[in-house]
Symmetry: D2
Subunit: 339 residues, 4 copies
């Protein structure tokens, strides 16, 4: 049950509501986001909703049968829109493209990437500065100092940054230099990190765990939302299966399901999904047709020389062609929904 509170509610009125909710056997949690103030009550008993609905200070009340509440479309019927400023949005009305290298490598590489993005009218750039690596001896990213350079150059060019945050202490450190905090697949159930990101005012992109269920992804979003941050983007990036012909099983089935179950925007990462350069274009196009609101993809001036993930990274001419195809596919898909 989601109880939306009036912004002017007094603490006495709130206490009464919490008391009444507890009395009927529900466990209440208070949630205050950028936009609104809620009591989330979890329980199973039958009761007459009017008993609570009549209390002073309540704007709205909804029963939500899903295990996740605030991210469920059963509650919020309109779609969430992420406003990144400077007229840059991620929503369900237009195709968002985020492109850039796997890892930030050097100032020159950032310059090249920005030039490529600007030439293609793309205003969001990806690029890792803290890299989760299976081996402790591998390159782990240029770190915070690299991020500062990355940020400075992007700000100067009106480009927003999406980059991975790996631990709680980085949230504050990175805050001023990031537009969208990305939670990587290995941290998909790092609940402390999700809690911390729920307390920032920056947008959060949640990658599905490589063996996370669709419901677990939505519960991860519930963590962020219930800690106070409504600006959440869901990202499908491939799961583990028995197949070894590609890197991950990009699970496009998740896209229409996430869009039906939730009001959050859904984007797809075909680079980590199928993970092989030849198949990025067909899978990105397929993602758009499955209903994706955006694509996040790896591009590099010279994929063969990229520090990481070169085998799944497009070069600029390949990427430029793909952007054009993606926009055409999105327009067609949109024309279907309008019928």
């Amino acid at each position: 049950m989601i109880i939306q509170l009036s912004k002017e509610i007094s603490s006495e009125q709130k206490e009464i509501i919490i008391h009444e909710v507890s009395k009927i056997g529900y466990h209440p949690s208070e949630v205050k986001t950028q936009f609104a103030h809620y009591i989330i009550a979890v329980g199973k008993a039958e009761f007459d909703i009017r008993k609570i609905g009549n209390l002073t200070g309540i704007i709205d009340i909804h029963r939500v049968s899903d295990p996740y509440k605030l991210v469920s479309k059963k509650w919020r019927v309109y779609d969430t829109e992420i406003n990144l400023g400077d007229n840059i949005y991620i929503n369900r009305k237009q195709l968002s493209i985020i492109a850039g290298p796997c890892s930030i490598e050097s100032p020159e590489q950032i310059d090249h990437s920005i030039a490529h993005l600007k030439a293609n009218n793309i205003r969001m750039m990806r690029g890792g500065v803290f890299k989760p690596r299976t081996s402790p001896y591998a390159f782990r990213g240029v770190g915070l100092e690299g991020l500062k350079v990355f940020s400075e150059k992007c700000k100067a060019n009106g480009i927003k940054i999406v980059t991975e945050v790996m631990q709680v202490s980085q949230v504050e450190e990175m805050h001023d230099f990031v537009d969208i905090f990305q939670v990587g697949t290995r941290n998909a159930q790092n609940f402390n990190l999700l809690d911390a990101l729920g307390k920032t005012d920056k947008a959060v992109m949640l990658k599905r765990g490589f063996s996370g269920t669709i419901e677990e992804l939505l519960q991860a979003a519930e963590y962020v939302f219930s800690n106070g941050n409504e600006n959440i983007i869901l990202c499908e990036r491939g799961i583990r299966s028995f197949e070894t012909a590609y890197r991950n099983t990009l699970d496009l089935n998740a896209v229409p399901i996430l869009k039906e179950k939730s009001h959050l925007p859904v984007i797809v990462d075909p680079s980590h999904g199928v993970g092989l350069r030849n198949y990025i274009e067909p899978m990105a196009l397929a993602a758009v047709m499955s209903g994706a609101d955006g694509i996040i993809m790896e591009v590099h001036q010279c994929p063969e020389k990229a520090i990481s993930d070169g085998q799944q990274t497009l070069n600029y001419p390949e990427a430029t062609q793909l952007y054009s195809h993606l926009h055409q596919a999105y327009a067609l898909k949109k024309s279907f929904n309008g019928v």
Copy 2:
């Protein structure tokens, strides 16, 4: 190594070739299809290909490093086209749509289905008469007599039949009433059945095993081809993973990979793939964008009353709209490849 033989080769010439191939440590198998005559030689030793290439009776010779040989695109550079007669083809040049009920139920149901297909200019109908069922107590199909009625009505309307064959003895029984033999996911590695289908002159549609790898699907095709039948269609229909939010993980990643590795047409079954009615349209559209040459899907006059698979079956208005969207998506995809 694939050695294509002259059609006029004498048996003495053939014996010499087989002898020479064996001498260099390769294991030769003779293959005679509808269209050509080959020696397939499997082995690992290094040798001078000219030693064999100069023998009389050889048209062409190719080394193929893939574990499958005749179905590999490393050997045959042009795409295989299935000619079903009456100007009906499955190939890589146009979108093939196969639609119909999960199970054939009654003559009336066949009539309704045919009327629906004709109204939509679709010329291939699916419909099971032998049904593989997990429980021995479930409905197992109307059988051969039902197939005869199905066939008669389709022939009268210029419609081709795709239906599942479950065992070797059915191949001959069903032969005259079938245009495409479908091998179901549970028989994906029923090698005796594949052998038998390699000896028919009818086309064969191979469904990927629900935990079969892409390579295993291609090896299943190699069974059919090496027994003499070149008319093979590959079908992705979903694999098993840990996710329980849908019926199967429709693995569209397989589509561009199969198209790159093989010269055979590739179709996708979104009905068994995602397995939930609401998501058939987005996944079918995504399949086309991933490169599918065709879609096989379940439609029924009244899915709620279908004997089997109603939850994944579209009704006629839904299907009619989807056909139109599929053709538009295919046209767009084709325009990209032409660039």
Copy 3:
């Protein structure tokens, strides 16, 4: 619902029972096995069981909520025992060991194997004569003629044969030379083959599909049982997962579950399970401790020279030591259950 009929029931009495069962909305199937005669009725309606229970010709009646009926322990409380003749049994009272090569290769190899088994007091030998192979160009077994030699030698030495049957037509051909028909993992849902094996009087060992659920294995057994054959052995042999460090994920969790859900004996194949020689002993011992009633394993005089599966095959000294350890582990496990 399982209705056990009197052996002296008249056809009129049976018709009345079938009629009454249908009247309450249940779908009746008649089953006649080596040992008894049943009506299996599947349905969901609530009804007063006495209405049927009082009809003449009924010995016993049980409601079974499992999707499988005759193989469920909810119905049959005693354990099924397979009697292979000559005082050789597979049951839940003693450890059954089945050993032998992956493939039958030659008369000499059979002789060596038999000598090894006799020296170790083992009376069941495995050995494939029809081999399911991923590639059509691989060795596919010595076939029926090889089986006849295999059978003759085993009969002369009081040893029972377990060997794979791949298709319906082989059931009759192989019948006289086989003691236990093995259904391989790729045919785990070859329902026509299961039907045919239900009509023989030989025991059947069902291997779990490499992506078959525990319930699907039990339903496969239900196919055999409901066609008339109660002599069924279940075999866990490894499933497919994302892990690539071994051949298959031997799923010992299935063992205690199968033993609780069913009354059939359960054996384990560690050779195909973990699939690497070094780990056969620990996994075989673990299987016994998980509750396995038997072990089927690959041994060869010289695994390095075996035609197939050498990397997972033990040599004779390794196997001899393992048999001894297995019996000690089984004795210990049995002592626990007696507490």
Copy 4:
């Protein structure tokens, strides 16, 4: 390559070694643990090992082809032993049993648990105070204050504590109250947490990710070791597969593989593994037979009333019987290895 340095090495000597290693194209990392001082050099070039081996300050030098180095048995031939003090060890010479509730609930519950452990001569207790929960609205543990009570009571009774740490900042907070830091399955690749735990002097138990490979588990251990902490225990606890008959697929195949590849002790968690009370005993016994050095399991005075995981928790009489069986199984297994 692992280069073990003399404890008396001068910084100049070390610089020379690092310089020489870099010159041959290897990437050197310095590692200083509780016990020794190393340079780990990763690279692929061929070179004459004597060039480096002769440098002053080097005790020993090993090439290790595994992707993990310090945790590999190819380098360290003796087994790692964890000394927890008070004559409590985890090693490969005796069976370690760790038991206790899923969550710490109350002082009384701790008392009951300790009494149970002492009665069974068990000296390590598990119990979560920080609980990773899929839903943000679920009980998340009694926290640090609860841990202090837990610690006080255990210290008073000579019992060591194993409890989960979820984030970097907790490492220091929890340090004085913990004997073994447990890294949960969801944090199996939380590399920052692994780094931080590598800098403590407390032992670390690493649970395998529920879709982590065996190699990834060993690389996680490499993170801890290469940060300075050699006291690592590996724990198999079940992976995700398509099977839904149980909670997780306890993967005992991992046990003999981990023991062969690494020198670290390996324990098994059957409670989270199979996840159903009836099957804990057979799977725990099977784990011991597969080679496990220890078992970690959930016990509770009254599993039906446990706050979490009651369905997989044994009561005291069940647990007491299992401890006895486990010791008997371990003794038998040990007798085999001695042969």
